[in-house]
């Protein structure tokens, strides 16, 4: 039988009652948090709301089954996401992006980009506009922290550990395409985490200095202006920051991704606290020609490199070389160099430039219908 998917929320099935109970207290807790945020609104409003709210609730109770809603979580997220306007507008680049509040006193985390070439304007959810100051930035994370002169703002605390995993539902909140003009709130999109993966250290795979774990999303979240927006889970907990537009150069497609809380938490905290953070060392640097390996130091003679994607086929292996000692043969195809995929001969040369010529090189090769691992010792 198909089509008999469990109808969640109907509470008619014993199976599905348990998750309901498990989560209910958490949801209630979140409701309790709200007054702190909204205290400033005053007691009179609360009285009005009591009457109004009860009427509303009664009207709703009569409906058969209210559609499950992410209304509260979405609204909370909108209140914490800001619009950032700045430089740009030239050469087809957008001059806007998104950010989110990380302190009650106006600290905003956003992506480090050309938009911040000038002191940016930050527009809060309530429509207030501020000339923001750039407090600090971290190019390795493509992260910047801004500050506006305001107090008592709703904000996200950034969890230290990443609880979310593949399949988890999320909301992506941002000002994509600058749809939200004036004092309109940010756009909320719903989807799921497709996978958690790493932006590999291999060069050129992703055109960003950030190397580390990312969430890929099953919704089209990373449009112009969305960078710096917030990804939150079903409870309204901050999960990740939406990244800049980025192509996955392995497939050529646009990535929908976000940088997890754990990756930016420390740096955001350090910048706010005024601690000088050292840029993370990007380990992926080329060595000098005479220090790095190349095909000659290993004793590899490759087939003529005629195309952009010429496969890394070995043409010949001269005697008394590391390659020969390791048992490499003509017509072997190099698949991995030290565990990193070698898509072409060009990629092989690039990879060797990053390995010290005194170090061993591990190659995974295909020989006819066999795959072998060989260690070349210089």
């Amino acid at each position: 039988m198909s089509g008999n998917e469990p109808r969640f929320g109907s509470a008619s099935s014993a199976d599905h009652a348990s998750p309901f109970h498990a989560t209910a207290p958490i949801a209630t807790q979140s409701v309790f948090i709200m007054p702190c945020v909204r205290l400033a609104l005053g007691i009179t409003l609360n009285c009005l709301a009591l009457i109004w709210g009860s009427c509303l609730q009664q009207a709703r109770a009569q409906e058969v089954a209210p559609e499950p809603s992410l209304g509260r979580v979405a609204r909370e997220a909108q209140q914490r996401v800001v619009k950032v306007y700045g430089a740009g507008g030239l050469a087809g680049l957008e001059e806007y992006q998104s950010g989110f509040l990380v302190s009650p006193s106006g600290h905003v985390a956003t992506v480090w980009s050309y938009v911040l070439d000038v002191d940016p304007i930050v527009v809060l959810d309530d429509g207030r506009r501020f000339e923001a100051e750039i407090v600090g930035f971290e190019p390795a994370l493509e992260l910047a922290v801004l500050k506006v002169e305001a107090d008592g703002l709703p904000f996200y605390s950034l969890p230290a550990d990443d609880q979310a995993g593949w399949g988890d539902p999320v909301l992506a909140v941002s000002n994509l395409f600058n749809i939200a003009v004036g004092n309109e709130p940010a756009s909320v999109m719903r989807g799921r985490i497709a996978t958690k993966t790493r932006l590999d250290a291999r060069r050129g795979t992703f055109q960003t200095p950030y190397r580390g774990s990312v969430y890929l999303l099953d919704l089209v979240a990373n449009n112009p202006g969305a960078a710096g927006g917030a990804l939150v889970d079903r409870r309204g907990t901050f999960v990740a920051m939406l990244g800049k537009e980025l192509r996955d150069s392995q497939t050529g497609s646009w990535l929908n991704y976000a940088i997890p809380s754990s990756a930016i938490r420390q740096t955001v905290g350090d910048i706010i606290a005024g601690r000088k953070t050292l840029p993370q060392v990007i380990e992926d640097t080329k060595l000098a020609l005479d220090q790095a390996h190349d095909v000659a130091t290993l004793g590899l003679v490759m087939v003529p490199d005629v195309l952009e994607t010429t496969p890394a086929f070995v043409d010949a292996v001269p005697s008394a070389t590391a390659a020969q000692r390791a048992g490499l043969q003509a017509d072997d195809l190099v698949l991995l160099v030290n565990g990193v995929r070698t898509a072409s001969q060009r990629a092989l040369r690039e990879q060797l430039r990053r390995i010290d010529r005194r170090d061993d090189v591990t190659l995974l090769i295909q020989r006819d219908n066999e795959i072998k691992e060989l260690v070349l010792r210089p």
Partner: protein, 689 residues
């Protein structure tokens, strides 16, 4: 305890705070959490059998998506066979490497391929220890039964991503079934290239299909690049039923192609309810089945066939090599036959009789005034007669047929209409005598005529008559240049021809000076003045009695493929004004009208329009070394009855695209030099049967 209980208890509290919180938000966390578990459980069922596929050394394609993009695959048996998508074979590569969830790498080879459904089978090597085979159904005891499905149910796309092969999902619903050629499911889950070749599951973990790159059918507005709809919410998966049925053939190393029957329907409109066969392609399965022109197809594989679309879908599910049972009706008699479909039918060699035939439809009237409407559903009840109006001098029928003869039968088969007659000649056997039964002065007479190849040197086909310029000066009196404007069309267009006069009295007069044909000329995109450009062709038009319609591109500097609809609408309007049928309408580029023309965007556009809108033009003329347009043609499409005139001296100089188009029915004719005058004289001969 129920949700209602909690809600009621929270009512007061929620009421207090409802201006900030949505009370129904209480239950959503639970819903979503349960759904997450379900999605993960479904994906986990199949995950061990899902592999990543890397293509090494593939040449870059034209599209956005890299040809060597890592995609997914599914292990289907213990011998290490893997099912994946056509993305893997989209371009030639040095080798294919398959990586399992533990990071183990296997060399793989393409074993079989289903080109109709975008499925490829690989065989892993290098080991005997392969990842576990997938069980298609969550309940494996019912392996033979495929899961039921309904539109709107939740679907999960599953793949692996990155160096670690992390599980990856995308969740959506089932949008449609029976898509593409009839075997594809459609989902709104965002499917990026990494998902191609991966399974599409329901939430119980049953496999419903394998995701493939596809941007729909070109005919239905889809694009040429199959990956261009990635992440769009329109994604396709070949259904598991269609795949499982073919696993044996794929393992055996077969390349599965579309099964061709070889009938040419009398109607061009695919939604038409007329399933009459206009012609049967020589040496095709249809011919073996004994189907003849004029028969009506009634059932395919015991399924009733009511429209041409039904036939297309019924045949779309069949492959070359499949046997089908086809039932057809001839008069009162029912026949049926079992035939094996083939993957290729010899290209037709269109034949020329050399007769201009007038089709008279007589719904009881004798004056022949009834309008000829090809799409008239009532056509079956009217009495048609096909009368020889004139004969091509030195043509094959010159001497055997006479003006005034009425054509009854060809090789014993009733000739029902002019369009059927045209298709029959297009598919006639070359160098074979046709037995024509005619009525001449109330007597039934039989004449044998050997037709002539329609392809070849224009001089050989139409004889010396082509050079003669009959003066039609008198006829073109009163012709004028008018600007052609249609709603929502920005292209500038101008027509030289008879002027519209809708007044009834004027009809007859308009008929008398109806044009002998319509030449549609596409201007190079840097020429903006349609009316100005038209002037150069008026002299030739006056001499030949052919109307001319000149169309400029929408934007300066380029023709866009999407302008084909505008061109067709302008052509149709001009043809109506000049009282010309599509049999005497040709589309040409501005360049070919000039001696020694250099190809440009107008050539590409003209060819694109003629090929994608086959109903509108009987002729096409372009400079041979043009940049061919991006038009997808499939051998399963109806034949294209277009004559293409190219300015080349000999058959040896034929452009390479000529042979390709020949396979789809097009006829290439050549002439050492082509100018506007020759194009118009050629055009007046196009309607000849």
């Amino acid at each position: 305890m129920s949700a209602r209980w909690i809600k009621t208890n929270c009512l007061l509290l929620v009421g207090l705070l409802s201006f900030i919180g949505d009370p129904t938000g209480l239950s959503v966390g639970a819903d979503e959490h349960a759904m997450t578990r379900v999605v993960r459980a479904a994906a986990s069922r199949v995950l061990d059998s899902i592999v990543t596929i890397e293509v090494i050394g593939a040449l870059g394609g034209e599209g956005e998506i890299r040809q060597d993009a890592p995609t997914a695959g599914v292990v289907v048996d213990e011998e290490g066979h893997v099912i994946t998508s056509s993305q893997v074979t989209a371009s030639a590569s040095a080798t294919i490497i398959v990586i399992d969830g533990d990071g183990a790498r296997y060399p793989a080879q393409v074993v079989g391929e289903d080109v109709v459904r975008g499925i490829v089978m690989l065989k892993l090597g290098g080991s005997n220890d392969f990842p576990p085979a997938i069980t298609w159904r969550a309940d494996s005891s019912e392996a033979a039964n495929f899961p039921q499905r309904q539109i709107g149910q939740t679907m999960v796309a599953v793949s692996r991503y990155g160096a670690k092969g992390s599980p990856m999902v995308s969740v959506g619903i089932l949008s449609a079934m029976g898509r593409l050629k009839g075997d594809a499911l459609q989902t709104d889950a965002r499917v990026s290239p990494s998902f191609y070749g991966g399974p599409l599951l329901d939430i119980e973990g049953n496999v419903h299909g394998i995701l493939i790159p596809s941007a729909g059918d070109a005919a239905a507005g889809g694009g040429q690049d199959p990956t261009q709809w990635y992440d769009s919410g329109i994604a396709f998966a070949t259904s598991i039923e269609a795949i499982v049925k073919r696993l044996g053939a794929l393992r055996a190393g077969n390349k599965i192609r579309a099964g061709l029957l070889g009938i040419v329907p009398a109607e061009r409109d695919s939604s038409s309810t007329n399933t009459t066969v206009a012609a049967v392609r020589p040496r095709s399965p249809a011919e073996q089945a004994g189907i003849r022109a004029g028969d009506q197809i009634t059932r395919i594989n015991e399924q009733p066939v009511r429209r041409i679309d039904d036939m297309r879908l019924a045949l779309g599910r069949c492959d070359a090599g499949d046997e089908i049972r086809i039932a057809f009706q001839r008069g009162e008699e029912e026949f049926s036959a079992t035939v094996e479909l083939v993957d290729a039918i010899a290209p037709p060699r269109a034949q020329l009789l050399g007769a201009f035939v007038r089709e008279d439809i007589k719904p009881g009237k004798q004056n022949g005034e009834a309008s000829i409407d090809e799409k008239d559903p009532q056509r079956g009840v009217v009495d048609r007669s096909l009368q020889i109006e004139s004969l091509l001098q030195d043509g094959p029928a010159d001497g055997s047929l006479r003006v005034g003869d009425r054509l009854l039968r060809i090789n014993g088969t009733e000739v029902s209409s002019l369009s059927t007659l045209r298709r029959q000649l297009w598919l006639a056997e070359a160098d074979e005598e046709l037995v024509l039964t005619i009525i001449r002065e109330s007597e039934e007479v039989v004449q044998n005529v050997t037709p002539r190849d329609l392809a070849g040197s224009l001089r050989d086909v139409y004889g010396a008559a082509l050079d003669q310029t009959e003066s039609r000066q008198a006829k073109t009196q009163g012709w004028k240049t008018t600007t052609l404007r249609l709603p929502e069309i920005e292209n500038a267009a101008a027509v030289y021809g008879p002027v519209i006069d809708e007044a009834k009295e004027a009809r007859r007069a308009a008929d008398a000076n109806a044009a002998g044909g319509l030449l549609v000329i596409l201007l190079e995109p840097d020429h903006r003045e349609a009316k100005e450009s038209l002037k150069a062709f008026i002299d030739a038009a006056k001499r030949t009695g052919v109307a001319v319609c000149v169309i400029a591109s929408q934007q300066e500097g380029r023709w866009q493929p999407a302008e084909d609809a505008a061109i067709v609408r302008l052509t149709t309007a001009a043809a109506r004004q000049c009282r010309v049928t599509s049999a005497a309408t040709a589309i040409v580029s501005e360049n070919v009208c000039r001696l020694g023309g250099v190809p440009g965007p107008s050539d590409t556009m003209a060819m694109g329009v003629a090929l994608s809108r086959e109903d509108t033009y009987a002729g096409l003329s372009v400079v041979p070394n043009l940049q061919p347009p991006a038009v997808r043609l499939s051998p399963a499409d109806p034949i294209r009855m277009i004559r293409i005139l190219v300015p080349i001296a000999a058959e040896d100089d034929r452009p390479s695209w000529g042979q390709v188009l020949g396979r789809f029915g097009c006829v290439i004719q050549e002439s050492p030099s082509v100018d506007a005058g020759l194009l118009m004289r050629w055009l007046t001969r196009l309607p000849a049967i």
